[in-house]
């Protein structure tokens, strides 16, 4: 973990793409963001976004030459924009087609609640249906963070951003 002082704050975590790192990272993030003077709602939203993105990266990511580990960065900058950036290795652009189509659908959705509800109804038909990317619906609908993504070689970078009022 590193911290820089030229922006309001900057945190970075890296981990091997194995599930047993999830709880440890969750606890570290929770402890660090609790020290920042955000509202309880913002802290809960940050925790939700961090963990949903980190868990997706661990679940679906692979180790590649462009991204051997999963990384998570939290940046709170001078224009009061909070960014949570998670990156992981991917086999190819085609291997994440479902993910990229879902992000596009979320970005273009005029009714996120209806979209999320439709997904929950699909899960109600078959709760063991597997890969759901439900965390992305949850971020978009519940937390107020906007999602974006970039692909660089065999690396996927997911960016969640939200303007936050500085309460420090």
């Amino acid at each position: 973990m590193t911290q820089k002082m030229d922006i309001k704050f900057y945190l970075k975590f890296s981990a091997k793409p194995v599930w047993n790192t999830v709880s440890e990272i969750r606890q570290k993030i929770k402890a660090l963001i609790a020290k920042k003077k955000f509202t309880e709602e913002v802290i809960e939203a940050m925790e939700t976004v961090s963990m949903e993105l980190f868990e997706n990266a661990i679940k679906y990511g692979v180790s590649t030459e462009d991204a051997t580990d999963v990384s998570l960065e939290i940046i709170y900058d001078e224009i009061s924009e909070l960014k949570i950036i998670v990156s992981n290795g991917i086999e190819s652009k085609d291997s994440i087609q479902n993910f990229s189509e879902l992000i596009e659908s979320i970005l273009n959705s005029k009714d996120l609640e209806a979209m999320y509800m439709q997904r929950l109804n699909e899960i109600a038909q078959n709760p063991k249906s597997g890969k759901s990317y439900l965390g992305l619906y949850r971020i978009a609908y519940e937390t107020g963070f906007k999602l974006a993504y970039e692909i660089t070689g065999k690396k996927l970078i997911v960016i969640a951003s939200r303007e936050i009022e500085d309460e420090s």
Partner: protein
């Protein structure tokens, strides 16, 4: 009635008269919760015949999205056995309020009340 523990999640079962109460506590951050939880809820549903079911999430600190199919699976199983069931959540918790507001819509389809507490 037995309780359930998996990773950082604990579900404590208590019988109070004709009601079986299941308290979710800790943090639900497992990878595929439904695979571990399904055998448990099928067993306790079978044991709780003729009793009312209350699933209490008010003490749960946090949950990931992998918890949602498990909760829906439990609701579905209760509905298939035509059991009288209620879910309660903490209305003062932002994440619980937003998550369970939508799950109340799913609950309606399964004849399960999802209420703030």
């Amino acid at each position: 009635m037995k309780s359930f523990e998996f990773g950082n999640l604990q579900i404590t079962a208590e019988e109070k008269g004709d009601v079986c109460v299941f308290f979710w506590q800790g943090t639900s951050d497992n990878k595929e919760l439904i695979n571990a939880l399904e055998p448990y809820y099928l067993e306790v549903i079978s044991e709780a015949k003729n009793k009312k079911i209350l699933i209490d999430f008010t003490k749960l600190k946090a949950m990931n999205s992998s918890s949602v199919p498990a909760i829906i699976g439990w609701m579905k199983a209760l509905n298939e056995k035509r059991m009288d069931a209620t879910i309660i959540y903490n209305k003062d918790s932002n994440w619980q309020r937003t998550s369970f507001r939508l799950l109340s819509g799913i609950g309606k389809g399964f004849n399960i009340e999802v209420n703030p507490s």
